[in-house]
Structure formats: C-alpha cells, structure tokens
Symmetry: C2
Subunit: 537 residues, 2 copies
C-alpha cells in the first residue's frame, strides 16, 4: 500500500509545481466559468517570459559573499539570475500575480546551499555578522509569503536553500522513529523510508515539493491527519541552528520537564532558527487500504457525522467533507452530472485486522448520522487528482479567473457560524460591479474531538486590479475569522499574509513573548525578517 | 460508569493526604520489611507534634500586607500558623522528613486566597511592586519541591492558594469542552462535570487533592492516559495572569498560527504566570468499562506487548505493567502468594460498541505477544487502592523505611537500558554498610508509539541521615537518567528537585529561551523563585 512517489521536476518560477504537469481548461470549461463569474473571453492574465525579467543586480556585499563561500564552498553561493528568480517568493496567488507582471524585485541577492547542520550554523554566523537577512527555503510552496526574501533592516538577503540536507540519518525500528534531514522533499523521504518498509503518512497538497523542515517550521497538516496526526504530533525531537548556537529539543516521547520547547520551534517559520534535522514517528507501510465515498443530504448533516467520528475516538485514516457547492463544482469539473448533497471521502489504512474492525465501527456511525455509502470509485477520482488542484490555479489565471484558498479552524459549535461569516466576507469583497458573485467552496479536511478545520476555495473575475481585489477579499476573510474567535491559519502558517492577525491570535503579551524568544536566539534580527511576528508598532 | 468522587478532608501538614485515611503496617508486614531491608525494630522516625513547631515569625512588610488585603479582602490574607504550616511545602519524601523533624522554616509569610482571575492579577501586581515572592498553591501534592515557598531575592513569600477559584465556568456540549477554574480539585471537578453527564478522565495518584491549574502547570499525566491522553493534550485553551498582564492562549483545536504558545504555559510551574482557567476536552461518562488483568512471563515480554498495543493504534483506556519485583511485592502486601511473572492491568472504557471491538483487538494482540488473561479480579484490587499508595509512605517512615518514587520516559529501544541504569544507581546509593540492598520496583504506566514512561518505587532503611541518603540516591538516579538521554520527569515536573538537570534536558540555549520568557512576563522575578529554571551560574 505504498504511495506513488510523485517525484517531480524543478518547480516553475512563475506558477505552481512542475511545468510538465501544467493544467489547462477545455474550451467549454472556460466558457462555463466565464458565464458563472462574469468574465470576458479575452480577460486572461498574460505571463512575462523569463528572458524579459528585469532582475535588480545582486547586492550582496563582497565581504559577506567571501565569508559565505568560506562557509559552504564557492559553488554553493549561487548569484545567477535563474536561481535568484526561483527563490523570489512562494506560491500564493499574490506571488503568481506579481510574477506574471514580471515583478521579481524581491529576489534574494544570492542562494546559499549548505551541506549540513554545521554549514547552516556557519551561514547564520556570517549573516548575523554582516547583517544579511536569511530566508530558509525548502520546497518554496508557501502560500502565505513565508519565503519572501524581505530585507527587514538588513543590507541584503540570501535564500538558504536546504536541498543538500537530504539524508535519512537514522531509523529506530523498535521505537518506530526516523531521523530525517530538513531539506528532504516528501517523495524522496518516502522513498528512503520505504526501503525500510516504513512511511510517514504525511500528504499535504504540497506533497511533491514541500520538505521535512518546512513541515516542521510551518506546523503542516496532511490529508491523512485523522489517522497519522498533524506534523506537530509526529515530531519526537528536532535540531535547529540559530545565530546563538544549536538547539536539540525532545528527549522522550513525552515529558513534564518544563514547557515543551520543541513546540516553540514548530511553527517558528525560520524566525527563531533553522530546523536542520527532525526525528519523526513513522509507521509500517499499511498492509491494507480501504477507500469509501459517502454522501450526506446537506453540509450540516455531514459535519455532525464527522463530529461523531472524531469524538467517538475510532477515527478513519482520512476523512474530508465537501459542502454542496464544492461537491457540485467538483462533479462538473469531472464532467459528471452534479448530484445533490455533500460528498465525503473516507479512508482506512493499517493492519488488515484493524482496518476491518475500524471500518465497521465508522460505517455504522456514518450511517446512523444520515450518510449513504457510495463505494470506492469517487475516492479513486479524488486520489488521482489530490496533488493537482494547485496547477489549475495557473490555468484559471490564464482565463481571467482569480482563484485562491484560505483555511482556518474552530470548535464544532462555532463551525457553521465561521463558514457563513467567511463566505459572506469573500462574497461581499469579490462580487463585481456587474453583480457577478464569486464561487466560494468549502470543505472540512481535519477533524479533532473539539472541532475542525474549514478550507475555502474562492474563484472570481480577476478584474482590472486582481492583486488589489484579492488583498481586499483576504483582509475581509481574515477579519471575519478573527471576529469569530477562530484561528487565522490551521495549516498554511503565518508568513507575511497573516502577520496583521497574530495579535488577535495570541494577544499583545503573547506577541511580546514571541519577540523575547526571537531576540534571544537572533539578536541581530537576520532570520526571515517580516514573517510571523507582527510589525512593531 | 462514574468514578467514586473520593472527596477528602484537609490534607495533613506533615504527611500525605487526609489524616483519616492514614495507613499503618501490620506487625508481620513490619517484621518482613525489616528483615528484607535490614531495619532494627526500633528504627522508626518520630513525628513532631504540630503544637511544638517553632514557626519563624511572619515577615510580610506592613505595606505589602495592606495592599494584599485591598486586593483580595482582609479575610483572605491568612497569617495564622496553621495556614502557614500547611503551605510550607509539598509531599516529597524530603518534605515529609523535614516536617517530621519539625522543620517548617520555609513556611510562607502569609497565605493569600484570591477569588478570581482579576484578584490573582491584582495579587501579582502587589507582589511585583513590593518584591514578595508568590508561590501558586493548588492541592499541594508536588513531590518535586514545586510549592516550596523559597524567597529567591525577595523580602518575603506568600502562598497563592487558588481554592476559591472553584467554578465550572462553561460547558460546550457540542464541542465537548468545559472551562474550569484552576483551583478545582479533581473530585469536585468531576462532580460538576458529572452533572452534565461528562468526565475529564484524568486520574493521577494525586487525584484526591490535585487541581486543574496544578495539572496544567506541571504537565500531569493520569493513569488513563492511554485512552484520555495526558493533561497537555486535553487543554484546548487557557488563561493565565502574569505581572505583565493576561495571556489568553488557544483559539482552535489546532492551529498553524505560529508556535503553540499554550504549550509554553503548560509545564511553566508558576514561574511565568498563574494559570487561572483552563478549557478542557471532556467526554461523556463511559457507557461501559471492562477491566482485565494479564500476566506475562517476564518484563521484557510484557513491554513488547505494550509496545504492540501502543504502536498498533488501538489502545485501551488504561494499561500498566509491573516488573517482576513490583508484581511480587504487591502480591505480598495484598496477603497473596507471590506469583511468577509480571502483572498488567488493562481497562477499556467508552461506548459499549467501541469497547467490545477494541477489547477484542487488544486481547488478540496481548495473547499474540505472550500474555495470559487473568480476568477482572486483580484489577478490582488495584482499583480500590489506586489513590492509597502514597499514604503507605508515611506508615513506612514510622517503621524506619525510606520510601520514594521517581519517574522518567524514553524510547522503546532505550527502555530496558534505562531501567537497568536507574536500578543500579539506586541500589548502589542505598545499600547499607551491612549489605542490605534497597527494594527497587518498576512499572510502565504511560505508553506512546515511540516509547513509554518508567515509574520507580524504592524502599530502603532510613539509616542515620535519611535526608542525606535520599539526596545521594536521587542524584545518582537523575544522573543515570540524564546519561541515558531520557527525560528527567515524565509527569512529576521539575520543581526544585530536577532543576540541576534542566540544562541536560533542553541545553544551555534552551535554558536561555526559558529565562527570556520569564524575564518578559515576570521582570521583577517574584513568581515561584527557585523552581524549573536552573540557577544562574
């Protein structure tokens, strides 16, 4: 029951993922979307050829350049245009919009590629001394501005690309843990673990590119979080390099020896240090996998069913529920007739005996809650396209459609109010002057006993100022999330996009605590400026 | 399937728990123990009558006293001897030994009893201004010196007794959460929750006295941690008062909005702030409970069986395994013939349908791993005495036996080496000049996919300097734990006892991070001095 490896080529500089996998819309899809969203047939956003980019000259001071070359070797300080452009940011819709207009003003002055923890530490020391901003870079898949090479108060910025930290360091088969270096992408990590009959079970939509270190630094959550847990929960220990030295955190599966400091590095987004190595909970490759699709008459019934599963304690490996809109749009995109109701995808993985027992308990609970079993076929369809949705966003921009996602989480009792508030905020902000409303789709993809995440996909006409339109919509949605008392991000992290809401999230004193940790570990303030911590007022 | 409430009277000033429940040894038990440990029949440690205590005069400056009275009302600043003596420390064996000799030198200058969060905040402000140390006090059950009223650099110390914060603030039945004030003891909390058909499922040995706030501040773990999780995992959000203001942390069941700051307060032991309110995951009172005892031919076989349960993902609600020594001593104490092998206690709780399914999976796994089912009777015996063992410690001191516990955790692959190292350290340190070795018993009571806790009980002759003997043994055991790379505490916390090993636990830079947080939240340094953070060198 191993995952296909999904190895992919170098990511495109101006679009999601592997250019070889780029999506396109059929004529009739384009026509239908245009009608629904009120888009003129010639409204597509053009792209700027890479050769025409006007990249600012690299501004890395000569002494810093020399010191970095001493730290990692001259070959591993890359100041070529192609490398700088490919590290100019992440993959949010604002990133894609800026690339389309040829805006690569933020490209780092150099890309530095250390070989190991000690070289990372050496790079940080050089950058602290020379006041060079350091932006840790894994898969570059951030959709919240997390890898944007902002200078802060520094004189220059380098992207710290961790791809050379790509080793499986150790496997403890008895304790079912594996120590992986931070720069490993998921397909490569799964290949290395697979050779030991093991798997991590972490499959976010960014699976193809995202790295072990990036998952830890952003508190990622994969599609199978119900069974395998979110990434936080998989981390037994970690090692991080900081300008002040090395942190080795986590000495046991659990402890009461003070606050859990490894959790302070999880979600630190490169602002406190650079995670170089992570020891993770791993699992034997599943003996069996059983997929089931379920349908519910409406979203409220489906949500109540998922809540019963999450609270009863026998959870499937994967469970997700689309609302009515997402269910019907997915059907149309698949060329099927839109069925009423809401589709849920359920997967059970593990030892055959356990799968059989848990399947039955879950199916009984879902039936009791008003669900009907549709068999495995719709899941196969979902599974085949699970990492492809982000490619569609670029095809939509080609057709004049602004498409983006955002996500949050709250308690079960707050879930419907939150969905209504965010939907209204997005709809209000993105309805065109001609009255064409955006499409707002929503699903639940991560469940807990106390609540769940909500994941929104929104599509609207780009209009004349797509970036401005999106900024307005994002701000309205984020304000609605904060007003509901929900979290500003369940698994995309903070980056630059969510900084203004961090004070709502943890309060002014919480922000001060984060700043105190930052000032202790990075007194020169060179680590990933402009991310996570709100601006000092 | 509700728990008996176990409401108890005011705790003894010089012994564990309710004086009405004090244990005593039978003549033959005393004789047997004396023979095994080489103890003279007249070796018991005398107790000092409370009337003979020489309590130092209270040193609370008049202005501080007046300001505290303004903050909480004059009636709630208690400077009477009885109150001060009862807040002079916790319930470690060193605490009990010092009380027996009449040593209450550390008693606080006053006991302050705020009514709510705002009054706690007001007390902290007064204490910061007047340089008075504040020692948060819940159930007073710390066995690591966590409530010792040390002055640090302050002029006086008050115990901040949270017993008046005893309300169930809110129940969210849909999200299965309850908001409880910090001073609630477990039996009272369970009574309040029980009125809603709910339970917390947290049953540490200190159940009768320990409080919600204390559990959060020390990262407690209950006997049913396999099913209900450790206390950390139950906390959805919390509120803490600090000298710099209030922290409200946790806006969703899970989040990627920066590091999980609620985890920075969990385990903070009153050093960063005073937790006043906690929103917790709760459960419907179990429909069914099924107890099973199992026996394994030896500890290694039993450990492998528990590992199979923990790693397969279908866990019982409670599972614990005694080693050969503990199994036979428990049998002897119960007046039974000592059977060979190791006893395990297993409990399944929950919805009837789930219990039936999980029971079968677990039983099959345990049988496959070499276990034999002994039926429910031995569990009933364990259950009836589950909160009584600490009472026995005082009866043993009466008989000249030094008895104490300590605990740690590590990976499965490190577990046997850790047990050997700690056993050797304790044995080496406590063997008498006459060659009488201590009894060292061990059990596993908390399991995780990656590893487990080890809980040691040690009994030895008190000798002429019981406190010195114990300090030597504790140091040897702690050094052995650190050398094995295990954690210095799985659920007892740090307090004063484990401070010297915190640098091993999180490294010098980790200690600096904790200090930076401390300095931000408590710049005057009045919060629980001398706990958690190692001394500045």
């Amino acid at each position: 029951m191993t995952e296909p490896t999904h190895r992919v080529g170098e990511a495109s500089w101006d679009a999601w993922g592997d250019p070889a996998h780029a999506a396109s819309l059929t004529g009739s899809q384009r026509e239908l979307i245009g009608q629904v969203l009120g888009i003129a047939p010639d409204a597509g956003l053009p792209r700027t050829p890479e050769a025409e980019l006007r990249l600012p000259p690299g501004g890395l001071p000569r002494a810093a350049r020399a010191a970095l070359a001493t730290a990692v070797g001259d070959d591993h300080v890359d100041t070529r245009a192609a490398a700088r452009v490919r590290h100019a940011g992440g993959k949010s819709t604002p990133d894609l919009l800026r690339r389309r207009t040829g805006d690569v003003a933020d490209a780092p002055d150099a890309v530095v590629l250390p070989a190991d923890h000690d070289e990372v530490a050496a790079v940080l020391a050089v950058c602290a001394e020379h006041r060079v901003a350091v932006v840790p870079f894994g898969g570059g898949t951030s959709v919240v501005g997390g890898v944007e090479p902002l200078r802060g108060g520094c004189d220059a910025a380098v992207a710290l690309d961790l791809r050379r930290l790509d080793r499986l360091v150790a496997v403890d088969a008895t304790s079912r843990t594996a120590t992986l270096q931070a720069g490993l992408r998921t397909p490569e990590a799964e290949e290395l673990l697979g050779a030991h009959g093991l798997t991590l079970g972490h499959q976010p939509q960014s699976y193809e590119y995202a790295t072990i270190g990036g998952y830890a630094a952003t508190r990622s959550s994969g599609q199978s979080s119900a069974g395998y847990g979110r990434f936080d929960d998989m981390v037994v220990s970690l090692r991080a390099a900081t300008p002040r030295g090395t942190l080795d955190l986590g000495r046991a599966p659990s402890s009461a020896a003070g606050p859990e400091l490894r959790r302070l590095l999880l979600g630190s987004e490169g602002v406190f240090g650079v995670i170089t190595e992570v020891t993770l909970r791993v699992h034997p490759v599943a003996e069996e996998r059983h997929d089931e699709a379920w349908t519910f008459p409406d979203f409220a019934t489906g949500v109540a069913a998922l809540r019963a599963l999450a609270q009863d304690g026998v959870r499937p490996t994967l469970v997700r529920l689309s609302d009515e809109q997402e269910t019907s749009v997915n059907a149309v995109l698949a060329g099927e007739e839109a069925a009423p109701g809401c589709l849920a995808v359920v997967t059970h993985e593990g030892r055959a005996e356990r799968v059989a027992a848990v399947r039955e308990l879950c199916a009984a609970a879902l039936r009791r809650a008003g669900g009907s079993d549709l068999g495995p076929d719709p899941v196969a369809h979902w599974r085949s396209g699970r990492y492809l949705a982000p490619y569609l966003r670029d095809a939509l921009l080609d057709a004049g459609v602004l498409a983006e996602t955002l996500e949050t989480a709250t308690t079960w009792s707050g879930l419907h109010g939150l969905r209504d508030a965010v939907t209204q905020a997005l709809t209000g902000a993105l309805t065109t002057r001609d009255g064409a409303a955006p499409l707002v789709l929503c699903h639940v993809s991560h469940v807990y006993p106390e609540g769940a995440s909500l994941y929104f996909t929104v599509a609207a006409a780009t209009g004349e100022d797509p970036l401005g339109r999106w900024r307005t919509a994002k701000r309205a949605a984020s304000d609605a999330i904060a007003a509901c008392g929900a979290t500003i991000s369940h698994h995309h992290a903070v980056g630059t996009e969510h900084r203004p809401w961090m004070q709502d999230e943890v309060g002014p004193l919480g922000v001060e605590v984060l700043r105190a940790v930052k000032d202790t570990l990075d007194p020169a303030g060179v680590l990933n400026p402009g991310k996570l911590l709100p601006e000092r007022s």
